[in-house]
Symmetry: C2
Subunit: 267 residues, 2 copies
């Protein structure tokens, strides 16, 4: 599983304050903690700043890169922010989070995704919004994948987000995500399926439990990665355990290693 | 999900001692706690007593029935113990745990399973033992189901245990259980699939995490019930959450009700 640590996101109040006040220690601590907890990418988002997103994102990227060698997920809807993020990026191959099939954004971000050595995350949205049905989400995913590969993008550098939407809004949305994962995997087994899965529990109590159950449910159906809070040790434990159960972890080696590191926990 | 509370089992040291010493309070407390935590059946097993299983089982069944109205799972390999257990049983339809396709046991237990109003749990074992492959387990299950239904047993009173064996022994055993569940469900959608899933984690550290991940993985693939420790609130939370995710819980009603009762917990 590819774990993207989601915590440094300006839509969270404390992060916005830290970015506002240039509280580097707060951001550094979260970066290091997510790194140590097993995150493969550290997401950095300053999108809550409407007028000075670029300045805040530049500061945050530099702060995070000062304390971790993990690659970043450059998280913005704005092409200028992505472009700057990619230029500032130092360690390994970054993730571009994200591109959609909306005409305007597609035209702007597509060249960035193709011309840079990045893992691009494509969201199942087009000019009509987020489809309610899995089949329609799969169609958007296939458009994104076909256009990117035709332009020379390697299949292993493409990720699709089936788009997790809350079961409190529509109790079928869990199955829609699962069916979208299966649908995309069927025709494009080399493409990674990655989602920000905590949206599933929006509007419900005890959200962590729904997120954990959804994680296992999605891994069983082919999910390759997720934006999560890696500081939830039970979530991390369930990820390693599910991979061992599905025989994706020879001799349960990764599970045992994670246990010795304290990433998999007893309770 | 059908939850069978597994804790009153004489293979557990403290239970054996309590049965030995006729410590009714200890057994009562465990029965009540499992009932309150959401168990649908309370398993009672005195099989660790080789010479006086019947006497110990009789005592335990009466103690448990003194404090809960939940039906029991009469848990023994011995036909005499099952027969006595069924006679003592008071509340609702009990579970017979269990029957196998081994010739000797089959001949003895088959009449009991057919002639009584019980939910019978059939294990995928025959005279050659537990098959390593899912296809062979499915074949045994189908023999059990066909023989029982031909003798007039209703399909909804038949449960099959795919038999959970440890991934520390063979890393494919998680998938074998999943594939057995899917295989039996395909031809017999009315049969319940129920397993004692904590065996999956035998020999690994942090067993609870593996059990939780396995629970979600099995529910996604059609598991209907499990023998578990219902006093693990995270396990119970994940069960309710998984059913909500799979759109088996209209308006997340059961999930919300379980949250209000304290069965689904926040952390």
């Amino acid at each position: 599983m590819v774990i993207i640590g989601e915590l440094i996101n300006s839509t969270r109040k404390k992060i916005k304050e830290a970015m506002q006040n240039k509280d580097a220690e707060f951001i550094k601590t979260l970066a290091v903690k997510q790194d140590e907890a097993g995150a493969d990418f550290i997401d950095v988002n300053a999108g809550a700043f409407v007028t000075d997103e670029l300045e805040k994102l530049e500061w945050a990227i530099n702060v995070v890169q000062g304390v971790t060698k993990k690659p970043l997920a450059i998280d913005s809807p704005r092409v200028e922010a992505m472009e700057m993020g990619l230029k500032l990026h130092k360690n390994g191959k970054p993730m571009l989070n994200s591109i959609t099939r909306e005409s305007d954004r597609w035209k702007q971000v597509f060249p960035l995704a193709v011309e840079n050595n990045v893992l691009v995350l494509g969201l199942c949205i087009d000019d009509n919004g987020i489809p309610d049905e899995a089949d329609d989400r799969v169609k958007i995913a296939e458009q994104i994948i076909n256009d990117l590969t035709k332009a020379g993008k390697k299949i292993e550098d493409i990720a699709i987000d089936p788009l997790t939407t809350p079961i409190s809004v529509n109790t079928n949305f869990g199955l829609v995500v699962i069916d979208t994962i299966k649908g995309v995997k069927k025709n494009f087994p080399g493409v990674k399926l990655i989602t920000g899965l905590s949206n599933i529990s929006y509007g419900l109590p005890a959200r962590k439990q729904v997120n954990r159950a959804f994680m296992a449910s999605c891994i069983v159906n082919g999910l390759d990665g997720a934006l999560i809070d890696p500081l939830d040790p039970i979530m991390m434990s369930i990820i390693f355990a599910t991979e061992a159960i599905l025989n994706k972890d020879p001799y349960c080696g990764n599970y045992l290693k994670a246990y010795r590191k304290g990433i998999v926990v007893k309770e």
